[in-house]
């Protein structure tokens, strides 16, 4: 019942069909123009075109009032609709945002190829609202030894060298440099939620039992991380309307689970559990 509105299909379909019609008309015009050129070339007597023969009489008999209003209306709907949709869906939405990071860290290698658990590095994801970017010493747990030198003629990979430069590690002698002035790595944040929205990773990962990929996409295949989801409110709402909570295995939901069984339902969606209420995310 909700998808009709929530997906804004109504507006989208109208706009789409109008655009397709416009393209068809354009193509038709080009074709006619070409054939006219052709005719001129062969100096043929111009036979009445399809337009002149069939369409013009219709237009001539059209009511100018209705025609004007329809054209104006269609224009307003198209322009206004596009403008509004642009304002709503494009401004501030950074889906696909993939900035270059100071270190070309590849999730494809780490998470995909080596299957390192996400939580190894993003260690606070089960405890806190933020998943946190790992500190350099987490990197060093492996990269003390892993230098990918086999790919670089025995030298340390230049990307790994950046870690060493930052933390002050002598890759040759495998030891930390005393008194080294450390420099932080300034990563560029990709997933930005506005200040007014409260999002908690632990809620979704621990309680909601979501995979990282649900929101972050096939991160294990990304050489360069990009923003997979729109991170718009509508996107959150859709998910909250569809997904159920695990009421059976969490004692917190004991009462809710009982009520659910009493009502003969299979599961409770997040929305039914109050997941669409404003102060779940905005306070």
């Amino acid at each position: 019942m909700s998808s009709f509105y929530s997906e804004s299909t109504f507006l989208a379909l109208i706009i789409l069909s109008v655009v397709l019609l416009a393209i068809a008309a354009l193509l038709f015009g080009i074709k006619r123009h070409l054939s006219e050129l052709n005719r001129e070339k062969f100096a043929e007597e111009a036979e009445p075109s399809f337009y002149e023969a069939k369409i013009k009489p219709v237009i001539d008999t059209w009511n100018p009032t209705i025609a004007t209003l329809v054209i104006a209306g269609v224009l307003i709907v198209i322009l206004g609709g596009f403008g509004y949709k642009f304002g709503m869906d494009e401004v501030g939405v950074q889906q696909g945002y993939a900035p270059s990071q100071p270190i070309n860290f590849s999730h494809k290698i780490h998470a995909g190829q080596y299957e390192i658990d996400c939580k190894y590095c993003h260690s606070t994801v089960e405890k806190s609202k933020s998943a946190s970017i790992p500190s350099l010493n987490t990197c060093m747990n492996c990269h003390k030894y892993v230098k990918a030198s086999e790919k670089y003629n025995g030298k340390t990979s230049p990307e790994i060298q950046k870690i060493y430069n930052a933390i002050g590690y002598d890759g040759e002698n495998m030891e930390y440099i005393e008194g080294y002035e450390q420099k932080p790595i300034e990563w560029i944040r990709i997933h930005n939620l506005p200040d007014l929205a409260y999002f908690n990773h632990s809620q979704h990962v621990v309680v909601g039992k979501l995979d990282c990929q649900t929101c972050h996409g096939p991160i294990q295949e990304m050489d360069k991380v990009y923003q997979y989801s729109t991170l718009q409110m509508g996107w959150c709402i859709d998910c909250h309307r569809e997904r159920g909570i695990d009421s059976e295995n969490n004692d917190y939901y004991e009462e809710a689970h009982k009520n659910m069984l009493a009502e003969g339902k299979d599961y409770i969606t997040v929305a039914e559990n109050g997941g669409l209420e404003c102060s779940k995310c905005h306070y």
Partner: protein, 202 residues
Amino acid sequence: MIDKSILLDDKTFTVGIFDDSDKLLNAVGTLKKKGVKIFDCYTPFPVHHLDRALGYERTNISIGAFLCGLLGSLTGFTLAYSMNVVDWPMIIGGKPQDISVFTSFIPVIFELTILFTAFGMVILFFARTRMIHGIKEDLLSRRQTDDHMVLAIDNGEPQDMSASEIQSLLASEGAIDVDASRTSFNTSLTDEDELAKQLMTK
């Protein structure tokens, strides 16, 4: 949809010009009685009973208005119901989240009914009478929007009486001017000199 009977294109008319609505009404009555087919009359103000004298049916535009209003009511209800009850019901001031909250929708339904009726009807009217911005006007007398009333008879229409009989009848009914072949012209798109020339020839 357009009422084609009001178009003056490519026609020539015998016109009688009156400066008094009573005389015009009398003339219409007389002509009708004599079986003259009158094309239309043009007056600067609504002359009462003229349409009846010309034998016009009352317009059924009100039915269209009613349907538009009905559409407005439905739109209002659908809007409110689908948004506040179906798609995203919320707890608002402890009010129910079902159809019983309908009373709150009444003002919006009412306003949309009026809005749809008014716009629908006016659009129908414009469409019926072929009016929209940028349409050129078809005039038979420059003063037909000022103080002259024009009784127009289509020359292309077969009449029982001869043209001259009709003209003299018009003159006898008090027309201040009778013209046997007048074609439509417009003021807004025609240059003033050009217009003067056109009017001179008539």
